[in-house]
Symmetry: C2
Subunit: 212 residues, 2 copies
């Protein structure tokens, strides 16, 4: 699969390296090719491609907006034609104090769908930390990736990409439920940082056969 990753920080960089290990074709779209993040990625793997945001969007069949949520609107407007492309939104609209969400009655994922005028947005990779992106294994458990979106084919593709890098997937339904996943991320942030459990935590949905 050809994947354009906008942003080369912890989340984008880790996703790119992991997918590259699984033989996907990656192009990062960045504003500044000289940045430390980009240099570190180049040193780690010569097979990663780099371009500007428009080039990465044109390149990928799947596009990941791995950037701060507050830059999403401006970036989408500059991104060029997203029609037909699967768009992954891993962002979280947290307030600067990390205590709440900055959006009411909507989600970043829904805003992206509107701005880009596409149904193929999938919320994913927002409820786990970069350390879990890098390694999904917790003793005998695999971390879960919670996803949602309105287009079943787009969700299926993202599910496969998540399974490729070691996740179990929980389908949370339509894109409107991105609001629930952004709230779940807030809980992750609270536990990791304010409650000081650290970033090596991840949510799992336990399941069992009905017993009763």
């Amino acid at each position: 699969m050809k994947i354009g990753i906008i942003g080369a920080g912890d989340v984008g960089g880790t996703l790119g390296k992991r997918w590259r290990q699984k033989k996907h074709e990656i192009m990062f779209g960045v504003r500044n090719l000289q940045s430390q993040n980009v240099q570190t990625l180049i040193e780690a793997d010569q097979n990663l491609r780099f371009g500007d945001i428009k080039e990465a969007v044109a390149y990928g069949d799947v596009i990941v907006f791995a950037i701060p949520w507050a830059s999403v609107e401006e970036t989408i407007l500059k991104a060029g034609n997203l029609s037909g492309k699967i768009v992954i939104d891993p962002t979280n609209p947290v307030t600067p104090d990390l205590k709440g969400l900055a959006l009411d009655n909507t989600s970043v994922a829904e805003k992206i769908a509107k701005l880009a005028n596409t149904d193929k947005v999938v919320k994913a990779f927002n409820t786990i930390g970069a350390k879990t992106l890098n390694n999904s294994i917790f003793d005998s458990n695999r971390a879960d990736l919670f996803i949602c979106g309105n287009d079943s084919h787009a969700k299926r593709v993202v599910e496969e990409l998540a399974i490729d890098i070691g996740f179990d997937v929980v389908d949370v339904g339509p894109l409107v439920n991105a609001r629930m996943l952004e709230h779940l991320a807030l809980l992750w942030i609270e536990l990791a940082f304010r409650q000081q459990l650290g970033p090596n935590i991840a949510f799992k949905l336990l399941r069992r056969k009905a017993e009763f």
Copy 2:
């Protein structure tokens, strides 16, 4: 421990039976002693006590309001003196369509703390279904109980009560974070019912030692 449980439905009834098995002393506070729920509990266990709401509140050192969230305010006002008592809030302020929360910028738990003028409110047992209350084991995992509250002693007591009936406990910090736990419950409801995974699901926070 002496526990007053207000309400004898799925959540209250199951908690009472489970704690009774662990030799805690239980009194249910109910409006109608003739109800089917109460009759079923009496038939199952002769050692369960029943009274009206005031009697159960007077009886318990720990009080659980296992009633619909919309009845909480009226019930607290009728409950008599809650001072010094540990109050457990397992409710969720879901809208009638089960798609959202009916409270903005607060939580049922915070409302209870204000109404009863006490710091000893602990949000707990709201992010799991009654089937998990009855049996916390999922293959090799135990379901997690997420709790929060402002009084550490009260949280410690609730943690022990949760461990008694088979849960691992995740402390989510102060009572204001009940908002996050009420959102987590909304995700549980969505997955169990609308996404049709059924009620035999539960959240677990995976943890591991830092690796990096």
